[in-house]
Amino acid sequence: MMPQERSPVTPVESQTVPPDRRPDAEQPKWRRDFPIDSSQDDYVSRRELVKFMALTSGALVVGQVWLLIKSVLEGGAPAPAARPIARVDELPVGGARTFEYPPGSPPRLLVRTGPETFVAYDQQCTHLLCPVIPVVDEGRLRCPCHNGWFDLATGRAVAGPPRRPLPRILVEVRGGMVYATGVEVSAS
């Protein structure tokens, strides 16, 4: 005679049970921080971190390559047409005026440094885009915002926060008129 069938074994729960088998509310707090169930364990694995870093740096590389291709393709664009910006007798030696070249550009600064010499730069400081002021007797350009200084002859940053030189506008004197003929993009 077969013995009577007993109750089947209790299947294990899918959720891990604490050793004292009390409900979760009575458990110490650290149990929530260190769950045994793998579904609650949401730490980033080493592989996931490496994957994230590889994909992110890959995206950065792709972006840089895109910028490079873009600059190569657009580098061959012709310089804007020469534009008269001032009459020579309009400006005294040491005087300055702003102009736009090409039209609609950010303000540029034309400075007459000598009877026959003119220089022109972007008026925006390369640090935080404040307008620079020419100090002709010192041969420099000053940015008053953070006391940045540029060389008036070359546009090179000589003191203060700015590191990059001011973009230079090429000027030419023809028949009593000053023409802007091109924008010199600095290599750095």
Partner: protein, 213 residues
């Protein structure tokens, strides 16, 4: 992919013949090549040939994971306690010392604890674990509960163990005699004499019916 609910693991110590096939098969598994996760326990070697293959029983309250200071042992929702996570395991041996069944094994060469994970790569796709697929006496069996009840009418599965005040239920079932109690009181049984002595004494049937035959 979780292990299908209908398949369960059954350990039947009474059927174990100590052939060590399970140990060989375990060591051949690709996920931990060369190292077996099974302990073949000898009950009382001086008196008996009885052996007991110990695979992980996959507790619902895994002590190995409770004591892990590196949070390396995790239990999946199908109740399988996984082997230590390689990037986290610090080879501190806590789990090896704490497991009441003596399942986790420390690989000192690799600095990594490795334990039986019920061949998760196989069972999660519906295959038998390596050990159960080779066991000639099916002391380690992997199948449905109905199949087991039909093939072994004298036994029934139990999965509750009592360690002092702590109750542990396991995913893996132990096949026990039909009249055995529902709960294995491990701490009480620690001090019981092994039964191997009596079994061996009677092996030639000197005191039983076998003598006359």
């Amino acid at each position: 992919m979780p292990v299908p609910d209908r398949y369960e693991f059954f350990i039947d110590p009474g059927r174990c013949i100590g052939c060590q096939s399970c140990i060989q098969a375990c060591a051949e598994c690709d996920t931990h090549k060369g190292q077996s996760m099974i302990q073949l326990d000898y009950m009382d070697r001086a008196q008996s040939t009885q052996t007991l293959p110990v695979v992980c029983l996959h507790c619902d309250s895994p002590t190995c994971a409770e004591v892990c200071p590196a949070d390396a042992i995790k239990r999946t929702e199908d109740g399988v306690v996984q082997s230590a996570r390689k990037p986290r395991c610090i080879a501190c041996n806590n789990c090896v010392l704490a497991c009441p069944f003596g399942v986790p094994k420390m690989n000192t060469g690799m600095g990594l604890m490795m334990k039986c994970d019920m061949c998760y790569d196989r069972t999660s796709v519906g295959l038998k674990p390596m050990c159960a697929s080779v066991c000639p006496s099916q002391a380690l069996a992997f199948g449905t509960r109905e199949e087991m009840a039909r093939l072994r009418p004298q036994s029934r599965p139990i999965n509750t163990f009592q360690f002092g005040a702590q109750t542990i239920r396991t995913k893996v079932n132990l096949m026990a005699p039909r009249e055995a109690p529902d709960v294995v009181d491990v701490t009480a049984a620690m001090f019981e004499p092994t039964i191997g002595h009596d079994v061996l004494q009677d092996v030639f049937g000197e005191s039983g019916e076998g003598h006359d035959a």
